[in-house]
């Protein structure tokens, strides 16, 4: 009885109960998202927790496991761990790297791989520790191919824009095309056209689409068709039918 009166009596209570339920629900949802988010250090520094002990968020992007690329600016040996200051032009962050006693050899190589003024790729999970942001379970490796810096920054931008709901439409499409540099596919190549013809006719011509049929259809010479079909067969996109000059799509 007491319970009953309690729940009906306090309207405020029941709504706050709903609220916390909602909170749980979203928390569960967030916990399922364990993907590595590419970020800039500025995003990490600006991230805030929506709920106590919850996930860090910045501009609609949830940061649990993050990756970033930056330059090592300072390494401080604190015996049990290394305090590494990393900077990427958007901000700086201190990352702790624990030195494990049982593999001193590899930890030595770790610290030697952390040369000052070199780019490193860092992953870790962003957690709250005594009210301060801390990156836990960090991995740090040196960047050898510096296209990774560009790639990482582009994926961070891409990820951020997607989180803002900017995906398609004019601007977005433009960006998609721009992000994939060089893949300008105005007009399909001969191979693509052949593949399309083979696909379209594979069902009706079950013994294989004859090369002559393709050449007539696309108005190109038989040799060109055979040549390109050989490439497509090698790529595993089509295979020969009963006859060596007749093809079926995979």
């Amino acid at each position: 009885m007491d319970d009953n009166s309690f729940s009906t009596g306090g309207g405020g209570f029941s709504t706050s109960g709903d609220y916390s339920n909602e909170g749980n629900g979203s928390q569960k949802f967030q916990q399922q998202r364990q993907s590595l988010t590419p970020v800039t250090i500025k995003q990490i520094n600006e991230a805030q927790q929506q709920v106590l002990d919850g996930e860090y968020q910045v501009h609609n992007v949830a940061l649990s496991h993050v990756s970033f690329v930056g330059v090592v600016r300072n390494v401080q040996d604190l015996t049990a761990n290394l305090a590494i200051t990393i900077e990427d032009g958007t901000g700086a962050i201190d990352v702790k790297k624990w030195i494990q006693e049982n593999d001193m050899g590899s930890s030595e190589s770790d610290s030697s791989s952390l040369e000052l003024n070199k780019y490193v790729y860092v992953t870790g999970s962003l957690k709250d520790f005594n009210g301060k942001k801390q990156l836990q379970n960090t991995t740090i490796r040196q960047v050898t191919d510096h296209n990774e810096i560009i790639y990482h920054n582009l994926s961070a931008i891409n990820n951020h824009l997607k989180a803002q709901g900017i995906t398609s439409k004019a601007g977005g499409q433009n960006q998609q095309q721009d992000l994939f540099v060089k893949e300008s596919n105005q007009g399909l190549s001969i191979q693509d056209n052949i593949l399309a013809v083979v696909r379209d006719n594979s069902e009706s011509l079950q013994e294989g689409v004859p090369a002559r049929f393709i050449s007539q259809h696309l108005n190109i010479s038989n040799e060109v068709v055979l040549e390109n079909c050989a490439i497509l067969v090698e790529e595993g996109k089509i295979y020969t039918g009963y006859d060596d000059s007749a093809y079926l799509a995979v």
């Binding site: 500025k42 995003q43 700086a92 296209n147 951020h160 060089k182």
Partner: protein, 106 residues
């Protein structure tokens, strides 16, 4: 190195007078006697180096520096050597996108 730097290339030098910038480019020329170098990054940028700094011609570098108030050159603060295979088409795109998302950058 707490100061943030904005990623730019040659056409954007003029807009960033007096600012700390970050430029990825290829060294075009280097003169050790005058501590002067030219970096190619979607155009040429004249660099004023510190004595002792040295750059190899045709190598890729990322430099952090301060643009002179007349935008004629960039005073180099830090040099990072990069691998030889940098895709400059992608660098150009990155530079243009970085300017559009101030939320993630300086």
């Amino acid at each position: 190195m707490d100061a943030a730097s904005i990623r730019i290339d040659a056409p954007l030098v003029a807009q960033n007078q007096g600012k700390i910038v970050r430029i990825i480019g290829t060294c075009e020329s280097f003169d050790s006697s005058s501590n002067h170098a030219v970096l190619k990054s979607n155009g040429s940028i004249s660099l004023v180096l510190n004595s002792g700094d040295s750059l190899d011609i045709n190598k890729n570098y990322e430099i952090i520096g301060k643009v002179n108030t007349d935008a004629s050159s960039v005073r180099v603060l830090s040099i990072i050597e990069l691998s030889d295979n940098i895709n400059f088409e992608a660098v150009q795109k990155l530079v243009s996108y970085v300017q559009k998302v101030p939320e993630l950058y300086y």
